[in-house]
Structures are given as structure tokens and as C-alpha cells.
């Protein structure tokens, strides 16, 4: 670790040109936070971060600096998280059709049109502006934590890992029709949560 940097023409097979301990200080919290959002259990999140860093040490030669160190590490972490759920998917049934089964029927009238006062409100601040604010991210983090566990797993695989529907179905052993229902309800609930707790009447505008 204290050796001088390796000469580029003769790269050392050791970790002399990487500094895994610095990774812990610089990226540890962010990786952990991300893992915790995904798996919800502190011990598992910590283990996943540890495994990620150990794997990163082994793969450091492949990291060409094309992306930032953070996104490289995060990419490894994402794979670890997917493996974790794949393993779980063999034992646990991830289908959840109980959650939110009324799909906001109180917001629609008898003909299934929005009741005007209960339809989606205009969001302020608008999209990209909101994403610059830390309050928005804290609200999103809280909203994700409020989704039922299985719904959250499926939803985050789809939206954060950008995994195709078919792959999710295969990995977690759920039917495509049920996946659609779960994703639809997750999106609806998350939108609703953000509106209530961040945008909506108070949240965003008072900032």
C-alpha cells in the first residue's frame, strides 16, 4: 500500500495502484445507503458493501477509469444485490397482489374518470429542479422504504437496474401478468407518496 505507484508499462498484479481503504472512506457511506435502500437490513447491506469492495480489489485492473470510481463500485454492488435477490427468489415467492389492491378507486368516479379534486396535482418545483434538492431525495428514500418489501424489490430491479420484465420474472419466479400489476401499483403508490410528503400542498413550495 505504501509502495510508489506502479510503472504503467509493467502494471503490478497487486493492489498497489488502488487504495481499497480509501474507498471505504470516500464511497462507503453512499454504497451502504444504496444497499440499505435495496435490501433494508443493515447486516446484509454491510455484507454486500464488503463483498463489493473485495470484488473490486480483484477486478481493479479491469477498471480503466472510463467511468468514475463511484459508478464503477456501484455497478459491482448492483450485481451483488441482484445475486442476493436471485438466491432469495429460489426460496421466497415474490408475488404480492395484496398491496394496494383498490388502486386508489376512491380517486376515480363511478365511470373511472379522475375526481377532479383528487386527481394528480401540479408538482412544484418541477422535475429537474426538485432533483437538485436533498429534501426530494430524502422523500424518495422514505417513500421507497414505505413500499411493502416484495413490491419494492421488484420495482427497484426494474427502475434502478433497468432489468427487462422477462428477466425479473425468471429471477424472482413471478408471472408477467402479476409483475405488471405489481409495477403499476408500485408506481402509483410512489407517485402518491411523493405528492403527499414532498410536492403537494406543503413540501416543495416552502423550500
Amino acid at each position: 500500500m505504501n509502495e510508489p505507484p506502479a510503472i504503467p508499462s509493467a502494471p503490478s498484479p497487486t493492489v498497489s495502484h488502488a487504495d481499497p481503504e480509501r474507498w471505504v472512506d470516500e464511497h462507503g457511506d453512499c454504497l451502504y445507503r444504496y444497499a440499505l435502500t435495496r435490501v433494508r437490513k443493515e447486516e446484509i447491506a454491510e455484507d454486500l458493501v464488503q463483498e463489493t469492495l473485495l470484488a473490486a480489489v480483484r477486478q481493479v485492473d479491469k477498471f480503466g477509469g472510463r467511468s468514475s470510481e463511484r459508478s464503477w463500485l456501484c455497478g459491482i454492488l448492483k450485481n451483488k444485490i441482484c445475486d442476493h435477490f436471485r438466491k432469495l427468489g429460489r426460496e421466497v415467492n415474490f408475488t404480492d397482489l395484496e398491496f394496494f389492491s383498490d388502486e386508489h378507486s376512491d380517486r376515480f368516479d363511478g365511470d373511472d374518470y379522475w375526481i377532479h379534486e383528487r386527481g394528480p396535482t401540479e408538482w412544484k418545483p418541477e422535475g429537474l429542479e426538485a432533483m437538485k434538492r436533498s429534501e426530494f431525495w430524502k422523500a424518495l428514500q422514505a417513500a421507497l422504504a414505505r413500499l411493502p418489501e416484495r413490491i419494492a424489490v421488484v420495482f427497484m430491479m426494474r427502475e434502478m437496474d433497468d432489468m427487462p420484465s422477462k428477466e425479473i420474472c425468471a429471477a424472482l419466479n413471478i408471472s408477467e401478468a402479476n409483475l405488471w400489476v405489481m409495477l403499476h401499483r408500485a408506481r402509483m403508490a410512489l407517485r402518491d407518496d411523493l405528492e403527499t410528503h414532498y410536492f403537494g400542498t406543503k413540501g416543495g413550495t416552502t423550500l
Binding site: L53, W123, M160, D162
Partner: protein
């Protein structure tokens, strides 16, 4: 009572509402459209529905925003979220990394 100038407009809105999917169905279709391509006919019907329905239009845009946020979350969002590794956990990790480096320097 509808003003005479608005009479045609109202009739048109009612006509479109009658001939496109209901809002509740539109929300389901919006979600489905985010996971795969819908038939052209359905996509067109949705387009026409948006013309008369500000709520479904907002719903669509807000779902798109949520998707975008989820997508950039690992790179941008986590920075601003809450939760930290305890100092002891960090020390534990460093210790294991150090041991790993010592035990198998040639391993790749």
C-alpha cells in the same frame, strides 16, 4: 349552463372521453408502456386522451420523473440521502481488505 361558444368544445371533450380508455385504465396503460411497447392503436388513443385530460397528463409526466429519479439515484441521489456506516463497520471493512491484500497479492 354551457356558453354557446363552449358548446362545441364541451361536445368534443365528451366525445373524446367516450371513445378513449377511462382514466383508471390509462394509469394502468401508462405503467405498461414503461415496460414494453403498446399497440399503435392504444398509443394513439392515449395521445388523444391526454388532449382532454390534464390529470392523466400529469400522471404520465410524474411517473416519467420518478423513473428518471430512480435511474440516477445510485449516482446522484444517494449522495443526498440519509444513513451512514458506523465507524466500527468501516474499521472492520478496512481490516478485511488489508488481510485480503496480504494473503493473496498474486491472486487475480
Amino acid at each position: 349552463v354551457i356558453e354557446p361558444t363552449n358548446w362545441w368544445k364541451t361536445k368534443l371533450v365528451m366525445f373524446i372521453a367516450k371513445h378513449t380508455p377511462k382514466c383508471h385504465d390509462i394509469t394502468r396503460l401508462i405503467s405498461q408502456s414503461m415496460d414494453g411497447q403498446l399497440p399503435l392503436r392504444t398509443r394513439l388513443a392515449m395521445r388523444v386522451h391526454y388532449i382532454i385530460c390534464v390529470w392523466c397528463t400529469r400522471y404520465r409526466d410524474q411517473l416519467a420523473l420518478t423513473r428518471k429519479a430512480m435511474h440516477v439515484c445510485p449516482d446522484e441521489g444517494v449522495e443526498k440521502m440519509e444513513g451512514e456506516l458506523e465507524a466500527t463497520a468501516k474499521a472492520r471493512m478496512k481490516e478485511r481488505l488489508k488481510r485480503k491484500a496480504q494473503e493473496s497479492p498474486e491472486h487475480s
